[in-house]
């Protein structure tokens, strides 16, 4: 089965890893959010691309949700002593990624090419694609602090400011990275990973052509909201601040026109009927991924679900 997954950070990376490790899928492409990308200390940092790649390569730090495992912090310690900003915790191995990526980008390689080059070095055998080679920075418009660059909102201010809206800057002018539309078109199934709908998957879908390509395909989502809460990150808080009760139902509604089905957690069993009435098939299962086998199980449940729907 040929699958294309849309993913943001940690949750998305875990499900993508499940798809990657499953023998049920013989061709996998992962299209990754680039709205979080930013420049820091002159280096181009792509948090979601790195989380996905580190996870697929088996070198992600399982404790933090960002960075590499067994990393050291010599550079950031010295930077702190120099009075530099230390709100974005950069490990030494992680800095090497950002330096090499920045070097390759400065040498006029596209982000998609650089991602492929680094993926090969990390031994990743599926196709990891940034949504676009053009910068599409997510701006978070907030009540207390006005417009914030995404990483400022997310890491520096720990997503505490109240959201007014999200702006996907330059999205209308951006083009899908080479391979993105091709991967979607060649796929039997599109998976929306359990990522933040607002700031992980929407920025991907905002790039002209991607939503249209996805809409012609069968799409299965996995809800990132379990029992009204997110496993990690601010998705539930964002739903609330935008006046929507956070739930798996709200997630289904958010993607409404695109979805064939959605995997929701046992905790949200009561929402299955309402989702079904929306015209979206629900599958109630255990959506929380504690360990690597959970990732594979959940990925394969999504595939089996899609196969059953087909019959």
């Amino acid at each position: 089965m040929r699958v294309t997954a849309l993913a943001g950070g940690v949750g998305g990376a875990k499900l993508a890893d499940g798809l990657y490790r499953s023998p049920m899928i013989n061709d996998l492409a992962v299209i990754v959010n680039i709205g979080d990308d930013f420049e820091h200390f002159g280096l181009t940092i792509c948090p979601d691309l790195d989380t996905v790649c580190y996870t697929l390569a088996g070198i992600a730090n399982p404790d933090t949700g960002w960075g590499q495992s067994e990393d050291t912090y010599a550079v950031i310690k010295t930077l702190e002593r120099l009075g530099g900003p230390s709100w974005f915790k950069l490990g030494d191995k992680d800095i090497a990624t950002h330096m090499e990526r920045t070097r390759l980008l400065r040498a006029r390689n596209r982000l998609s090419t650089v991602t492929a080059m680094l993926s090969r070095k990390w031994g990743i055998e599926c196709c990891v694609l940034p949504a676009s080679d053009d910068p599409v920075p997510t701006i978070v418009s907030t009540v207390e602090m006005g417009s914030l660059a995404f990483q400022e909102y997310f890491v520096k201010y720990q997503y505490q400011p109240q959201v007014v809206e999200f702006i996907f800057k330059n999205a209308s002018k951006a083009q899908p990275a080479p391979g993105v539309l091709e991967a979607i078109e060649a796929s039997d199934l599109i998976i929306f990973c359990p990522s933040n709908p607002w700031v992980s998957l929407d920025p991907i879908l905002a790039i002209p052509g991607i939503r249209e390509a996805v809409s012609s395909k069968r799409v299965i989502a996995i809800s990132p909201i379990i029992g009204g809460k997110t496993v990690k990150g601010p998705a539930a808080k964002m739903f609330k601040e935008l006046g929507i009760y956070p739930s798996a139902l709200a997630v289904a509604d958010h993607y409404r026109s695109l979805l064939e089905g959605i995997l929701i957690d046992h905790a949200d069993d009561a929402l299955a009927g309402a989702i079904d009435r929306m015209g979206i098939k629900p599958l109630v299962t255990d959506t929380f991924m504690r360990h690597i086998p959970d990732r594979i199980r959940l990925a394969e449940e999504a595939i089996h679900f899609a196969k059953r729907n087909e019959q």
Copy 2:
């Protein structure tokens, strides 16, 4: 006594450190070569500024001649594994310097401001000034490889290609950094540190206004060439390739119109007469700086020499 020193890398930094540590000098400015500066992995690296600052701060690596003491190499090891270029050996603490400098420059601070900010953090109590805030990259025109950026010539190719000429790119359009001309004008004495005349001090003197300001002042040089050889680096090799026999005499001649006197090593005793006939006062002494006391002694000999000349 108010002194302004012109310095390049290791040798210049050592003599500058001697001046800095000497109680004979109550006001010291060090004007540093920026011709070696380059961008690497998206970071702005200023090798001579760093060597001077690390030396004055007492954190220079005494074994390598570059970088900080007690540094680690976690980032560069990972970069090598990623296939990135590793010819420029960057320690982790050193990378922190380059990252913070790059961050401050991107925030629209001038290089001179950034240098002052970092100097303060390092506890340096004299004024370290880049020759200019404008980039003035030294290009080495070579027989075998054509034009090379300085660090490529110097570090990557270990100064093996044969030199045709040096080009101080953009020098004619550059301005002295704020404080440079003021420091020279306020000084009782200018010291040309034992740095490479071709690629350490000439790039400073090539910036419009600096040579003129220096020429109205008393100038004492310390020869970087001892017995036809350099303590470190390619100065002697450069003299040869440009058809000049490398010697303390050649150094004196190089700066001819600017010098009041020059300190030469005992090994070059025989050249004193010829230098004197050139109209430049020679002082024969031990110019090799093994340990920190040597730096102070040599610095103070230069000061005493200038004071004697005055009488």
